[in-house]
């Protein structure tokens, strides 16, 4: 029986090449799309979960209540991990981790290189399963002079992991560490990107602020005992900080909470002090998109099969007459659909292998074709069967219900319900496609908006140079020399570049402030000419200036800060920052720090040209960037010979804030194109079918004198109506969905009417092009021929 079905299926495929192509190619496109998304989702979900102790690893996050709001974040006091381990018996191991993995300069022998890495505690390698090639897990980060480096860092500096071990390496030209361990380069499914790890004590020595409970910075990771109940531990440590942080009171509360460590990657957004999604949302959105696209492809199949059912009706009638029961026919047609989806999956595998490199490029991933994963092959088999069932079920149920005698007598008329179902499915397809197109337009418009919005500072022709090595002490000299260099307009400095100002403090006081209130101000330290260099505008007052020697205790604030402080005439009014009394000398118009996801926050700017870190800001003449860079490089080599010259462009750093959205934009572009292509394939098939079915009608009309235009209109009108209906349904849905997405941005575009108009017109035009080919062909055909076949 199976063989008989297979034979019929094959011969049918061969006989109707165009339809077979549409079916198989369309399904394959849908499948490859859902396979890519599946691989991407699996990759995202597998991130960081590979550690042997995964189920026992947790990150501690703080939930802070102050100033009438609840906020949460991963930043914790640097002392926390040791105290947790000491006082909570369930905490078997714990470590601090500096999340800011910045480039640092290392020197060994002749070699000087910049490497990304960070600081962490002695338990790190005992908690996490990063493979150690050399050294002892238990001791590698114990020694205050010890550090661990990656295989590639070992290769780069010493030639091999073997020869690296025990060697000394100079860090930032100020301290020397011994390589106590070499770890394997991090696998692709690890979200952290460090190449070296230095012990915690060295970190604390350089950063005394870590010894105070009031300061937050590092992450705290803990490993629970195997028998511990995480929920109970979480309850136990909730009020832990009350005994340590002397600033806590009724107006400022901190609760500690636990999150599974491997969940950090996908669930790292906080809202009102609670974990509220993160990357996981994109995995959800794209999973839905994958299902939709597969559905669109399945609908093609269903539509073509039912439309063409008249052609197969005779076979069904005959089979029924010779004894086929309905169930065996259902089996036959579902089997046929599964066969087609099997061919489609073969094609999809081929596409997948071809597209994966491009997809990786698009998504910044290193997904490999999972040849050896049996779950992959199993899910492929599942995909074939499910797709076959979905695509084949309707035609199977529909075709098998024909009354044989009606078919064989030729009196069978397709009920209008089948035609309206077909129309409904086409509407559904185009609705999904239009939603995707609108989505694509809105996403790309929003990205264009955030990239071109006036930030309040000018990010063009602005260069950041890290303050490091001798530059920390020779900044004044650097500035003098740089200003003489051609192509450079202005030079200033700051401890946090404007694309990333994150430090905040409660330590701001002013006249009339409620002494108990805890109000957070973002704070940044800057050098002279800061406002001029960034091209910030003043609401009132003046910039810091060498002409005013007391400026070291004077402050600039932004409009948001003024709003919080509430002074009428702020310039000249007193302000105390970290117990240093001074006055406000200027109010800056609000400018955007960080990304458009966040609102503009109250900002206090203080003057300091001696911070040992941060960035030098260089404003260059437009069009003379290269000239300026050559000059600065020469200058840096001269003043800071031990450090390789590095720099960043402010506009590029700003773009990096939206890397995730850009990936989303690119992905949604692809998917929207795919969806419309697949939908049009289906439309093409239906148009072919209609033209074929109406050949006789068209012939008669032509003989009676119908013009080609009127025939074209006759054939196209019905389909275009469907696309219009789809457009009408898609508009409110797309509007609602995109409004939700835009909520992620504090600054956003309205969902504009022209996005819908464009999507609608695009869908309509593409559909028209698809149909017109068939319609014109049918309209031009010789009527005599078509009538003779009767």
């Amino acid at each position: 029986m199976l063989k008989n079905y297979l034979i019929v299926a094959f011969r049918n495929l061969k006989r109707n090449k165009a339809f077979s192509f549409i079916n198989i190619f369309g399904l394959a496109l849908g499948m490859v799309c859902s396979l890519l998304i599946m691989l991407w989702v699996l990759d995202e979900k597998s991130m960081d979960t590979w550690h042997a102790n995964d189920s026992r690893l947790f990150v501690v996050y703080e939930q802070q209540t102050y100033d009438g709001k609840v906020e949460a974040g991963y930043y914790t006091p640097g002392l926390l991990y040791q105290e947790l381990k000491k006082n909570i018996p369930e905490v078997e191991m714990a470590t601090g981790f500096n999340p800011g993995t910045d480039n640092a300069t290392f020197e060994a022998g002749e070699k000087i290189m910049k490497v990304k890495g960070t600081f962490t505690g002695a338990d790190f390698f005992r908690m996490f399963s990063y493979p150690l090639l050399k050294g002892d897990r238990n001791t590698v980060l114990k020694d205050p002079s010890g550090m661990a480096i990656s295989r590639s860092m070992a290769n780069n500096f010493f030639g091999s992991p073997d020869s690296a071990i025990g060697k000394t390496i100079r860090f930032e030209n100020k301290s020397v560490f011994t390589v106590a361990g070499v770890f394997e380069d991090l696998p692709n499914n690890d979200s952290r990107r460090f190449q070296y790890l230095i012990n915690w004590e060295a970190y604390v020595k350089e950063n005394q602020w870590l010894t105070e409970w009031g300061n937050n910075g590092p992450h705290t990771y803990i490993m629970l005992r195997a028998d511990a109940n995480p929920a109970l531990v979480e309850k136990k440590i909730a009020k832990f900080l009350d005994n340590y942080n002397k600033y806590l009171d009724a107006n400022f509360k901190i609760e500690l909470h636990l999150q599974k460590w491997s969940d950090m990657y996908l669930h790292s957004n906080f809202k009102n002090g609670k974990i509220a999604g993160g990357r996981i949302e994109y995995t959800h959105i794209f999973s839905v998109v994958a299902i939709f696209i597969l559905l669109i492809a399945c609908i093609n199949f269903m539509n073509l099969a039912t439309a063409r059912s008249m052609k197969r009706a005779k076979e069904i009638g005959v089979r029924k007459v010779v004894g086929a029961v309905r169930s065996s026919l259902i089996r036959q047609f579902i089997g046929e659909a599964i066969l087609i989806s099997f061919f489609a999956v073969l094609l999809a595998i081929l596409f997948l292998a071809l597209l994966l490199p491009a997809f990786n490029l698009l998504t910044n991933k290193q997904i490999e074709f999972p040849f050896r994963s049996w779950t992959f092959w199993l899910s492929l088999a599942g995909l074939v069967i499910i797709t076959g069932f979905i695509a084949g079920s309707y035609p199977a149920l529909f075709l098998s219900s024909f009354r044989p005698i009606a078919v064989l007598k030729g009196t069978l008329r397709l009920s209008p319900t089948s035609a309206s179902l077909r129309k409904g499915l086409v509407v559904f397809q185009f609705m999904l496609s239009i939603i995707l197109i609108v989505g694509t337009i809105v996403v790309s418009e929003q990205i264009k908006y955030v990239q071109t919005k006036n930030l309040g500072y000018n990010k063009e022709n602005l260069i950041y140079i890290p303050v490091e090595g001798d530059l920390t002490t020779k900044y004044t000299l650097f500035k003098q020399q740089a200003l003489k260099t051609p192509g450079i307009q202005l030079v200033s400095r700051t401890n946090q570049a404007p694309t990333r100002i994150e430090n905040s403090t409660f330590g701001v006081k002013w006249d009339g402030k409620d002494p108990n209130a805890r109000i957070a101000f973002t704070q940044v330290s800057v050098g002279y000419d800061y406002a001029k260099t960034l091209k910030l505008s003043f609401k009132e007052g003046r910039d810091f200036s060498l002409d005013f020697p007391t400026d070291s205790t004077n402050y600039l604030i932004n409009e948001q800060a003024l709003k919080r402080i509430g002074y009428k005439d702020p310039v000249g009014k007193p302000l105390t920052f970290w117990e240093k009394k001074g006055t406000i000398v200027g109010v800056l118009k609000d400018f955007h720090v960080n990304s458009m996801h966040a609102p503009i926050v109250p900002l206090v700017i203080r003057l300091s040209e001696t911070d040992p870190w941060g960035s030098i800001l260089v404003r260059t003449d437009p069009g003379k960037t290269q000239l300026a860079l050559t000059g600065i490089e020469k200058l840096c080599k001269e003043l800071n010979p031990k450090f390789p010259f590095t720099y960043q462009f402010a506009d590029q750093e700003y773009q990096k804030l939206y890397s995730e959205e850009k990936t989303v934009e690119k992905l949604s572009d692809c998917f929207a194109v795919l969806a419309i292509v697949i939908s049009c394939l289906g439309l093409l098939g239906l148009a072919m079918f209609t033209a074929e079915q109406r050949t006789r009608e068209i012939g008669i009309r032509k003989v009676l004198g119908a013009s080609i235009q009127s025939l074209f209109a006759l054939l196209s009108k019905d389909f275009l109506k469907l696309v219009l209906v789809a457009f009408l349904i898609a508009c409110p849905l797309a509007w609602w969905i995109m409004r939700g997405w835009l909520q992620n941005f504090e600054y956003r575009i309205p969902v504009s009417w022209w996005a819908f108009a464009l999507a609608g017109v695009a869908a309509l035009m593409i559909a028209l092009c698809t149909i017109s080919f068939q319609a014109i062909k049918a309209a031009l055909a010789n009527p005599v021929k078509s009538l003779r076949t009767e």
């Binding site: 008989n4 005779k314 007459v321 004894g323 029961v325």
Partner: protein, 220 residues
């Protein structure tokens, strides 16, 4: 073999019943060769379809080999007719995607007969109808008479007791028609009960018994 009692068939057209068959009483015995005749629209084919269980009567009783067909459910009915009844159509109704061999084999597949047995049975009938040489051809590659031969072979492959033929020679020229009718006569002699619908007096003459229909009634 079968008996129809007060069989009527009607459709509702505009709320009023239009009768196709009206109060048909009929008894057909084993081994008969019956021809049903009548003008177009007299209900011949419908009667044949009701006998073949492809269509339901609106009213009346139908007993086939001691089973009350009108009380059976779809599945049981299908079981019954696929075992005992073979159909031959005016338009042959072969499956275009299958070869001659496969077309003839199909009914056996639906009766869950084993592959080796099927082979033997199909080979046997191909031989008997002298179409062995055509077994790998597709229906469209055959002449009408040859197609009808295949249709009859398919109808007979499962060794039915009753053969129903709806204008079996309607699409054939007279020589081919004669050959088919001779074949029917031979089959009838071998014990197969045959009911055919026909327009042609000559073909009706091959039968042992003629039923004349007019406007849904049997003319006495």
């Amino acid at each position: 073999m079968l008996e129809l009692k007060h069989i009527s068939k009607w459709y509702n057209v505009g709320g009023k019943p239009t009768f196709i068959l009206k109060d048909i009483n009929l008894k057909i015995n084993d081994g008969e060769f019956v021809s049903i005749m009548g003008p177009s629209g007299s209900g011949k084919s419908t009667l044949l379809h009701i006998i073949g269980m492809l269509d339901d009567a609106s009213e009346g009783e139908y007993n086939f080999m001691d089973q009350a067909v009108h009380t059976l459910r779809e599945k049981q009915r299908s079981q019954l007719y696929k075992q005992h009844i073979g159909f031959v159509f005016q338009a042959y109704h072969l499956i275009d995607e299958l070869t001659v061999y496969e077309n003839i084999e199909t009914p056996l597949i639906y009766q869950n007969i084993k592959s080796s047995e099927r082979k033997a049975m199909v080979a046997d009938i191909l031989d008997r109808f002298q179409i062995v040489g055509k077994k790998d051809l597709f229906p469209t590659q055959l002449s009408g008479g040859q197609q009808q031969l295949v249709g009859i072979a398919r109808a007979l492959i499962a060794k039915p007791r009753l053969l129903l033929a709806d204008e079996p020679t309607g699409n054939l020229n007279s020589r081919q028609g004669e050959e088919i009718m001779d074949l029917f006569k031979q089959l009838n002699k071998d014990g197969v009960t045959i009911i055919q619908v026909t327009h042609s007096e000559k073909n009706a003459g091959y039968g042992s018994h003629i039923i004349n229909l007019l406007d849904g009634r049997v003319e006495q």
